[in-house]
């Protein structure tokens, strides 16, 4: 790989529809503004700019868009955007807290063949979920949203953010998902970026050794017990051999993705919300094809990853596949896109990274 633009297609856009959210989640890396209303926000990109960016991006490979936020359903024209993307033959995925989902929205998502809707739920205990999400009443709204989606036949995913206190909720949420007909469960350990930093300062994050134990428990017991796809988001270098050999793992397609923030800013992904040095232009004034071809940040990523990864990531036999896990998180923690991913770094420091997966 030389970093030459012609080698890379822009297959996927993470579209941050709004910087507002009706919840105050304790871990959120985007740190959106708390906002209850659904009025449009003048600082959010307009549909005309978005359409231009999508049509241009299709010329360089775009076939998938993930709608996220803030809470994407706070944006009044979300269903227009979904319909437009469907008309453009773009696969649409949505990440939501689920609290604003109603029957009419579900019907519109079905009509427009949305590929997957992921709903955040972190506990089966109302109080625990609401303390984590920061707003009273959000538990029942989220469960209702999840139920409406799963019941409609839309491919639905439950996303659980994991920290020390809700480890015991994993099986309960998997059982709920299995019972509801949810397609899969994704478990994301809390990250030390944005508001998530405080979890690490207070040592509320799950210990690194325990992350590996939980991964094995999910693979060896939970998956066979509940017959539902469970994706536990730790890097491939820490996964079990069986998992590596037999399962499709979630990996960031770093070389084929770009983020568009709610004000139209083009960035590596949502990290641009807090790390403005990673911003590369704005869809209101810049041609996304030109940014994709020539932006120095993207060129550096294409040149440096994985060859110039540092620390344990430079020594890992999976580095060409994993590409250092989440580069946005690495940048957020260290200011360098090449620094080792913190989970693998900590595992290595504690002697938990297998020798068989390292080169000298």
């Amino acid at each position: 790989m030389t970093g030459n633009n012609a080698e890379y297609q822009l297959n996927s856009i993470y579209l941050y529809l709004t910087d507002r959210c009706n919840l105050r989640c304790r871990h959120c890396w985007i740190e959106p503004l708390y906002y209850e209303g659904r009025e449009d926000n003048s600082s959010e990109f307009d549909l005309r700019s978005l359409k231009k960016a999508i049509e241009d991006a299709k010329e360089i490979g775009l076939n998938r868009v993930k709608l996220t936020g803030g809470e994407p359903f706070l944006r009044r024209d979300i269903l227009d955007i979904v319909a437009y993307l469907h008309a453009q033959n773009i696969t649409v995925d949505i990440e939501t807290n689920g609290t604003l989902i109603d029957k009419e929205i579900v019907e519109a998502l079905k009509v427009n063949c949305v590929n997957q809707v992921s709903v955040s739920l972190d506990s089966m205990t109302e109080e625990q979920h609401e303390i984590f999400r920061g707003v009273k009443g959000c538990y029942h709204d989220a469960v209702k949203g999840l139920s409406l989606l799963a019941g409609s036949g839309i491919n639905t995913q439950l996303i659980m953010t994991l920290y020390k206190e809700n480890v015991s909720e994993i099986e309960r949420l998997v059982e709920l998902s299995s019972r509801m007909g949810v397609g899969s469960v994704k478990i994301n350990p809390v990250m030390p970026t944005g508001r998530g930093k405080r979890f690490f300062e207070k040592e509320e994050n799950v210990e690194f050794g325990d992350l590996i134990k939980i991964d094995r428990w999910i693979e060896e017991e939970l998956m066979s017990k509940y017959k539902i796809d469970i994706h536990f988001d730790i890097p491939i270098g820490l996964k079990s051999l069986k998992c590596i050999r037999t399962r499709q793992l979630f990996e960031c397609n770093l070389f084929n993705i770009i983020g568009i923030l709610s004000d139209g800013t083009i960035s590596l992904c949502g990290i641009g919300q807090t790390e403005t040095a990673l911003n590369m232009g704005n869809i209101a004034v810049d041609d996304i094809r030109e940014v994709w071809a020539n932006n120095p940040i993207l060129r550096k990523v294409r040149t440096d990853i994985p060859r110039n990864l540092e620390g344990i990531c430079s020594r890992c036999i999976f580095k060409f596949r994993c590409r250092g896990a989440c580069r946005a998180c690495a940048y957020g923690l260290t200011g360098s896109l090449n620094s080792p991913f913190f989970v693998c770094h900590e595992a290595y420091e504690k002697g938990l990274f297998l020798e068989s997966r390292m080169i000298n």
């Binding site: 051999l241 036999i317 999976f318 060409f320 596949r321 068989s356 997966r357 080169i359």
Partner: protein, 102 residues
């Protein structure tokens, strides 16, 4: 078109690649190209026979001795496909003709 391995050919391990045993198999990894492959226990045995001395024919014969209930032709085909894949990924190198591997 891929070149089919001949019985008289000798293969040796590419020492620029790393071999890492794990549980019931091993990873082969080329730090330069990024090529990565997991091979199972039988694959490990076959890979370790590629010492530059044994021929492909020698290796298939040895494997056949352990699987008498499977036809020799089937084993020869499977072993050659496996070895060809490792050659293609540059985990194994063909010894030059005339080099007796000693």
């Amino acid at each position: 078109m891929e070149e089919y391995l001949q019985n008289i050919e000798r293969l040796s391990q590419n020492t620029d690649c790393v071999f890492r045993e794990e549980e019931d198999g091993a990873f082969l990894f080329d730090p330069e190209s990024g090529n990565l492959k997991f091979i199972n226990g039988m694959g490990v045995n076959i890979y370790q026979l590629c010492d530059g001395n044994m021929t492909v024919g020698d290796i298939t014969s040895l494997v056949s001795e352990n699987y008498k209930d499977i036809s020799g032709k089937k084993i020869e085909d499977d072993v050659k496909i496996f070895l060809q894949e490792l050659v293609k990924m540059e985990f194994l190198k063909k010894e030059e003709a005339g080099n007796d591997g000693k």
